[in-house]
Amino acid sequence: MNRPLPSERDVPHGDEMIAAILAAPVRPRRRWPLVLIAGIVLVAMIVAGSYASRRMDSVELATPSSAGSTVPGPSSSASTMTVPAPSERAVAHEVAWPDEWTALLEQHQMAAPPAGTGFVEIVGVGPDGQVITRRDIVEEVGAERVLSRQVLESSGLDRSDTVVIQEWDAGSDWEVGDVVVDGDSLLFTQSRYGVVLGRYQWHPGMSTAELVDEPAQTADTTNSWPAMAHLQGQADGIAVWFNYEDGGYQLVTSDGASFPTGPVKSLAVLDTTVWLLLHDGTLDGYDIGAGTQTATPTIDLPPPVWLASDGQTMLYIHETGIERWLNQGPGVTMDATSVDILTSAQWQVSGKWASWCQNYPNIPTCYLMDLTTGAYTSLPTTTTLAGESGVSNGFLVYQQDDGWSPAVVPLDALGNLQ
């Protein structure tokens, strides 16, 4: 035990980092007089029967004022967009994990994947409950362990076998980046002298795969360095961003538009707007429907700590609440002061269900929330893999304590959480 660790470094661009943190939007500390006034107003509004419809009139995306952007400027006639205002209100409250759900987990537990050296990760759930995993096969070559190939696999709800969707020979120039399941498609980034997006059309059972779009979108990597690719698949669009050699980031959308942005913590898509929460806490919005329009949202809400969407619903998670916006109508505003949102992450949404993982105080715990009632419950596990739990495509994916074999439960089977 005498070889040294790598030498320590100073934080690069520390001055810029602290400046960005201090400039991040934060919710001002509450003052009692304001709370009192707000309380009086609240009571008056409830009495008037108009509270719900006035909780948030609109969310506007205003055009940016900064110059120097490489993105074509928005047209003046399309400078704002409106997100439907929530019309209902709920209060988040924690309830015990229902006993009958434990039986459901046991009923839907799937077999472990084939044994072998490598790394296995759940990447999504198909429309029929197929669990899509990816596995890196690692082999010993001489004294080194090398990645020999990557495999996308599918395991069905009602069978224990595993079907190989596609293998990539890591010895070639191909390697899989992000994979997401989006409705009936499986989207992925992959590399071949750059990064491209591809799309598999879904087949029943996913025993075969047909590459229908390749590439759906190609990043121009001629003179760039795509250090990071993050993919979000949605019904109306694909958002992907890359980190380039010069330190910039770029959002690329399915319709061919691209926008400069910053490092992204989470993103969501609602209608044709891509919402980005940056690591510095700021919010960006891009209208991919308008093709060339870029916008900066101004919202009369506390700054977000996470964004999530499933194509139909978008969750805007802020310090004390959850705003649920829907494509086709108003959503719900939820008072979530009982949730330690500041230490939560990995929010996911699927229909009326949301999931997230919370890192505080010390043991990662994942939760499941019924957005129609505000009731939430912790998944009964203390596994360090809790971050793999979540909701996807109408299913709850629950990581078992044995290491990784999942249980996949149709969310419809859960009923309501009161």
Binding site: L5, E8, R29
Partner: protein, 194 residues
Amino acid sequence: MDTGLAAEANAWERLRRGADPDALTELFRTHSRSVYNFCFRRLADWDAAEDATQATFLALWRRAAAGRVEPLRAASERAVLLGMARQECQTVARGKLRRDRLAHRLTEQPPTVTEQTPEEWWEAVETMREIRRALAVLSAGQRDVVELVCWSGLGVTEASVALGLPTGTVKSRLSRARAALAAANFEYTLGGAK
């Protein structure tokens, strides 16, 4: 309490009273390097460590703005910050592992850095990845203790605060970790590297 620790505690107390930019800046200047390198050793990735560092101090800043900074329970807030950083690393690691591997394979060249040559940059990353693989012989709890006590220099009491564990548990995990690493012929120092 010496002068340095008193100043730290003062800055922490100012943050407890509200979002004081000077206090956060002071804490950042004092501890960002420690947090950054802790995150690097946990993630084996300089970029991810940078993100986790920013997320750690942003979380503290937001807590200060919300009036939710907790009283200092350790001798130094470094233990609290490393505890927060540990959680942020977990969040960052969930999404970045593959993207970073992809990037590495694609480019085989590092981004522009000012303090190290490209070779030093990747050598550090590769070395840290090798160390992380070697640490797989330990349980997650034992790895936490090694990272905080051996590599980041926290005392057992401070580590217990960061991890929310009794000091006895930290001690036993540390002892078992040392034994397991010795048995596995772990080649790297457990004494930290400055």
